[in-house]
C-alpha cells in the first residue's frame, strides 16, 4: 500500500494537482459540498418516500428527481478522485476515510439493488398502495449509509494521521 501511495504521490498528475493547480482544491471542495447537498437532500427525500412519508407523491413520480442525486454523486466521485490523487497520504492511512469508503460501497450497492430489482415494481405500484417492506429496507439502509458517508467524510481532518504530511 505504501508503495502504491508513494508512486501515486510522485506521479506528474499528482504533483501538478498540488502545484501549480493548488487553486483547484478549494474549488473542488465547493463542488464536493454542492454534490453532497444533492445526494443527501435528493436521495434523502426519495428514501423518506420509500419509508412511507409524503404519500401524496407517487414513488414513480418522486423518482423523477433522482437524476439530481446521480448528478451530485458524479460531481463528488470526480472531485473526490481529485482529492485522493492530489493528497494520497492524507487519505490512505486515515481510518475515517476507509469507514467513508465502506459506507459509500454499501450506499451504491443498495442503490443498485433498487435500480435493478425494485424500480420496475415502483412503476406499477398503485398510488394508494402501501409501501412494500423491501422498499422500506432499501430506504432505511440508504439513509444510514449516506449519513455515514457524510459523517466520516466530515471526520477526515480530525483523524488525519501524522503521515498526512508525507504528501508534501
Amino acid at each position: 500500500m505504501a508503495t502504491f501511495v508513494t508512486w501515486l504521490r510522485d506521479t506528474p498528475v499528482s504533483q501538478a494537482f498540488r502545484v501549480p493547480l493548488e487553486w483547484l482544491w478549494p474549488l473542488c471542495e465547493s463542488f464536493h459540498f454542492l454534490g453532497l447537498a444533492l445526494v443527501i437532500g435528493v436521495a434523502g427525500f426519495f428514501d423518506l418516500r420509500l419509508l412511507g412519508f409524503m404519500r401524496w407523491i407517487p414513488i414513480r413520480k418522486a423518482a423523477e428527481f433522482l437524476p439530481l442525486a446521480k448528478t451530485g454523486f458524479a460531481i463528488n466521485l470526480t472531485t473526490g478522485l481529485y482529492f485522493f490523487i492530489a493528497s494520497p497520504f492524507q487519505y490512505s492511512f486515515n481510518i475515517a476515510f476507509w469507514y467513508k469508503v465502506t459506507a459509500l460501497v454499501i450506499a451504491v450497492a443498495n442503490a443498485a439493488v433498487f435500480e435493478l430489482m425494485l424500480k420496475s415494481r415502483a412503476a406499477v405500484l398503485r398510488d394508494d398502495e402501501d409501501v412494500p417492506l423491501s422498499f422500506k429496507i432499501v430506504g432505511t439502509l440508504s439513509m444510514l449509509a449516506w449519513l455515514n458517508v457524510l459523517y466520516w467524510g466530515r471526520m477526515l481532518p480530525f483523524w488525519s494521521p501524522p503521515g498526512g504530511g508525507a504528501d508534501l
Binding site: 459540498f33 453532497l36 447537498a37 437532500g41 435528493v42 407523491i57 423523477e64 428527481f65 437524476p67
Partner: protein, 161 residues
C-alpha cells in the same frame, strides 16, 4: 467588540466546543452543520429544478411541504452555526468572507420566501401557469446557495489563526 468576542470564544462553552475532549464537541457540531446544508440546499434544488421544468409530472403543490423541511434544516444550521461561531468568535468576526456567506444566505432565504409566495401561493395548482419571473427566481436561488457554499468553504482558507 473585541472584548465581547473574546469573552464568548473563551467562555467555558466556547472552549468546550473548540477543544472539548469528546467527539460530541466541534467535529459532531460541524457534521450536523453539514447535514443541515444538505437538507436546505437539497430541498431547494428539488424545488428550483421543478420550477425550471424537471419532473413536470409532479404537481407543484405536492412539493409545498418541502419548504417546511427546508426551514427545519435551516433551523439546524442557524443553531449549529451560532455554536461554531462562538467557538472561534474573535477570528471569524474578522473574516470578510464570513459576511459574504451571511449575505448569500440572507438573499437565498429571501428568494426562497418569494418562490414560496409567488410560485407556490395558495391558489397554485398543476393547471395554473407559473408567474413569468418564476424561472429567474429559481436560477437565482441555485446561484445564491452555491455562493453560500463557496464562501463557507473559503472560510477555512482565510482563517487568521
Amino acid at each position: 467588540m473585541q472584548e465581547f468576542l473574546e469573552s464568548i470564544q473563551y467562555s467555558e462553552f466556547g472552549l468546550w466546543v473548540a477543544g472539548g475532549d469528546t467527539i460530541f464537541a466541534y467535529p459532531t457540531i460541524l457534521a450536523l452543520h453539514t447535514l443541515g446544508l444538505g437538507i436546505v440546499v437539497g430541498m431547494s434544488a428539488i424545488i428550483d429544478c421543478r420550477v425550471l421544468g424537471m419532473a413536470r409530472s409532479v404537481p407543484l403543490s405536492d412539493l409545498k411541504r418541502l419548504f417546511r423541511v427546508m426551514w427545519w434544516g435551516f433551523a439546524l444550521n442557524a443553531t449549529t452555526g451560532v455554536v461554531l461561531f462562538i467557538a472561534a468568535a474573535a477570528d471569524k468576526a474578522y473574516q470578510e468572507i464570513f459576511y459574504v456567506k451571511l449575505a448569500f444566505i440572507a438573499l437565498a432565504l429571501m428568494t426562497a420566501t418569494r418562490i414560496r409566495r409567488t410560485v407556490f401561493g395558495g391558489t397554485t395548482d398543476a393547471g395554473r401557469p407559473m408567474p413569468p419571473n418564476a424561472r429567474m427566481l429559481a436560477v437565482a436561488s441555485l446561484v445564491l446557495w452555491m455562493g453560500a457554499i463557496v464562501s463557507g468553504r473559503l472560510m477555512a482558507y482565510t482563517q487568521t489563526f
